[in-house]
Symmetry: C2
């Protein structure tokens, strides 16, 4: 026993020595990638290019298609491999006029935007009494028919949180609220914007795509408070007039744009990194999500520039149609299309993640529950700590919206968590423009992505649960 | 000689002693007024009342008239004397649709607002090539006819300055630019908003009222930069499409609302303190100028609450129609009407001033050039220094916009200068709502106004040049 034990120890030490040398080399490369990105990643220029050339890129519109076509050419020019578009059918919503006003004694216009997927009013608009709810639960507590012929108004506020979980709480109001209001007889629906700002612009986003949608709007936060103040002035019910010229077309299309840094040794082992090209129609989709496109693409490009490609393939996916709801209550059409086309290769999908939470610095790397590869963890800590990124003690909760269909199909996910404290000041509003972005913040994002990608792609690390 | 000299000295000393006692009493009262205001002036509640009840109060509209009627009743309720409305005719401009978009390769909407007084487009809008000028001077340097059939775009930026003088430089572009562009053949005019913010809302304001106005707009600051970026993408001229449904009516009316704290000893000696009730139609006119209304009214009310009224009369004027231009190139219709009606009493108008520069703290009291009443100056310093207000070493440059016609007619002016560093982040935009105001800042304003008013009204101080 003793001799065998000794031999085993020697073998382990020898192996550890070789592994340690390899690890040191991987860390050195990851550090170089990180430092190059921090010195200027080029990500800001990509955001500028996309937002300037194409402006808003509402899913299914010509602007989104033109951006995708440009993207395909750009990715080829940048030297990526296997560059292609994968198109898919899409139901398309378009905004028309969207206006709301208080009528009567305190007549005044309100700053609103129609919700994505919501319905139009008749030509002259709809005028009705408002029923105001401080919280969504209060509206849900109203019985069927209680809102017959009325306009439901939900004033619940979205709480500012670093990880964006305040939005997680209230996004149900936008998604389900119009349907629940309609079920109770409402002829219109307004909610306080799911935003944390106090400026006079409202926050759009998708509501569930209904067969017979009611006109539905978000109020700017100051207008939500104004409405509450005006309602408090008088005992008489407040009356609102709504106009929406929203349109809906069932037969459109969108597309994912795909490019690869092909793996050196195990090209069939794929790490998917994504972001989405479509945006809401109000801003130019700078933080949501040209920033994500720029971050993951520049990170992959830094790796492609190395003298040696990584062991595994890095696949960059610019998803289409992330933002919009679809008939039948689905969404994430690009993420779903990716699953349909690539499901058979998912056993060789090492991991997937998306950058879709704005343009502020990353503060942590989150890995799947149970992940315990100490070599990887030690390397990640060593490379990321100097740029303000922790390895999160909490397990990863998901890889990003477009990754959800893949994760559901069994692909492991990780996340580089960005500071979202001010994300909902801008997200889904007219104010989502490049002016909101600091180039240095994007550089830090690219640095973290490039370093983590290298450590994952040039190794045999597994993110799957131990079987 | 010696005896007479001695007697004169004795008389002077006796008189100085009595005066000193009187001064000390005046200072004590001014300090009490100041401290009461700092503990809670009630000004914020007045701003809330006006902005909530009436929303935007565009000059000549029913909203402005309703606000004035409410104001008259409010001022009576508050115990002011001689409360009345003085109405005057007004040409009224109204906004309709106002939209601009880039057409062609980089098609996208622009965030714009039509300028007050500007003209409508034909039904389907106007589409034309844009000619972009970095500065206004560049446009002025273009010869007659050089812009024939084109849309002139001036991208000059407004500089952020504490005293607002950056706006003084660029406001000419808005006032004269459309006329100068039209003279050179332009069919439309756009300027970068005269705002210092970088959010996606544009800044309106009056342009000169022309007989045949061209459609004219302000671009939000991010849109001005976007336009410059897009123009730089291609050698082909940029084309724009503009829509404006602006309307103009010659026969409307507006009104000044007047109230007094009647003087105890010399009621015919009048100190006019003003602000304006009208606002632009985009926001609810909180900082411009419900704040001013609240500040001067609460200051006068604090004085009215004293056991003894001041020697002189304090006249509060809520001016109408400050914002808009009028046919013939005039403006300040409320200020002009005041002069027409009251000119004959101007020899007994001690001074006039307006609060119309937002809701931030006051940093200095400015008095007319040559003012040298050391007793007043010493008292003012003593009372104002503790709340962060200097007596300005520079002479006063004017009493506020509505005071200009009075000043031109010879009434002396003074000014309590407010910090305007962020005034043009909000001024004339949708964002001019109560959310921009800190109640404590208003309290400091009321404190300074009440103290200065008392020192002026309960004395014989003269602001006129020594004759």
């Amino acid at each position: 026993m003793r001799r065998f034990a000794s031999l085993a120890v020697i073998a382990a030490v020898l192996s550890a020595g070789a592994a340690a040398a390899q690890d040191a080399e991987a860390i050195r490369t990851a550090e170089q990638l990180r430092d190059r990105a921090m010195q200027g990643s080029g990500a800001y220029a990509v955001v500028e290019e996309i937002t300037t050339r194409f402006g808003p890129r509402l899913a299914g519109t010509e602007a989104e298609q033109r951006a995708a076509a440009w993207g395909e050419a750009y990715l080829r020019r940048e030297g990526f491999q296997n560059v292609r578009q994968e198109t898919f059918p899409l139901a398309v919503w378009t905004r028309g006029i969207d206006r709301a006003e208080i009528v009567g004694d305190h007549a005044q216009p309100l700053s609103v935007v129609a919700l994505g997927g919501s319905g139009a009013t008749a030509e002259g608009g709809v005028e009705a009494e408002a029923v105001i709810f401080e919280t969504y639960q209060q509206m849900l507590d109203a019985p069927e028919g209680a809102l017959r012929g009325k306009i439901a108004v939900v004033l619940q506020e979205t709480v500012r949180m670093q990880d964006g979980s305040g939005y997680g709480v209230t996004s149900t109001i936008r998604g389900q609220g119009p349907e629940e209001a309609a079920r109770r007889g409402a002829v219109g629906f307004l909610l306080r914007s799911l935003g944390t700002h106090d400026h006079r612009f409202a926050h759009t986003g998708a509501t569930r795509w209904l067969d017979e949608p009611i006109p539905s709007f978000a109020l700017s936060p100051p207008d939500a408070e104004q409405l509450a103040r005006i309602a408090a002035l008088s005992n008489r019910p407040l009356r609102l007039r709504l106009h929406s010229g929203a349109g809906r077309v069932l037969e459109g299309r969108s597309q994912n744009v795909i490019a690869e840094v092909r793996g050196r040794e195990a090209p069939e082992e794929v790490i998917v990194i994504g972001a989405h090209m479509d945006s809401w129609d109000l801003g130019t989709g700078a933080i949501d999500d040209a920033a994500g496109i720029a971050i993951v693409t520049r990170a992959a490009r830094l790796i492609a520039d190395l003298p040696e490609r990584p062991r595994r393939t890095i696949r960059v996916v610019w998803f289409g149609a992330e933002e919009v709801s679809q008939p039948g209550g689905t969404g994430l059409a690009g993420g779903r299309d990716y699953v349909t086309r690539h499901r058979e290769t998912f056993d060789r999908h090492v991991a997937a993640s998306e950058s879709d939470f704005g343009a502020r610095p990353i503060y942590s790397l989150a890995l799947p529950a149970g992940f315990s590869d100490q070599t990887f963890l030690a390397a990640a800590r060593r490379v990321l700590t100097p740029i303000g990124v922790n390895v999160s003690p909490a397990p990863n909760q998901g890889g990003g919206p477009d990754i959800i269909p893949m994760a559901t199909a069994g692909v492991p996910t990780f996340r580089l968590n960005q500071d979202g404290s001010d994300y909902f000041d801008t997200h889904h509003t007219v104010d989502d423009v490049i002016d909101r972005i600091e180039p240095e913040d994007l550089d830090q994002n690219v640095a973290a992505w490039a370093a983590v990608l290298w450590l994952m792609a040039d190794s045999e690390v597994s993110l799957r649960p131990a079987s």
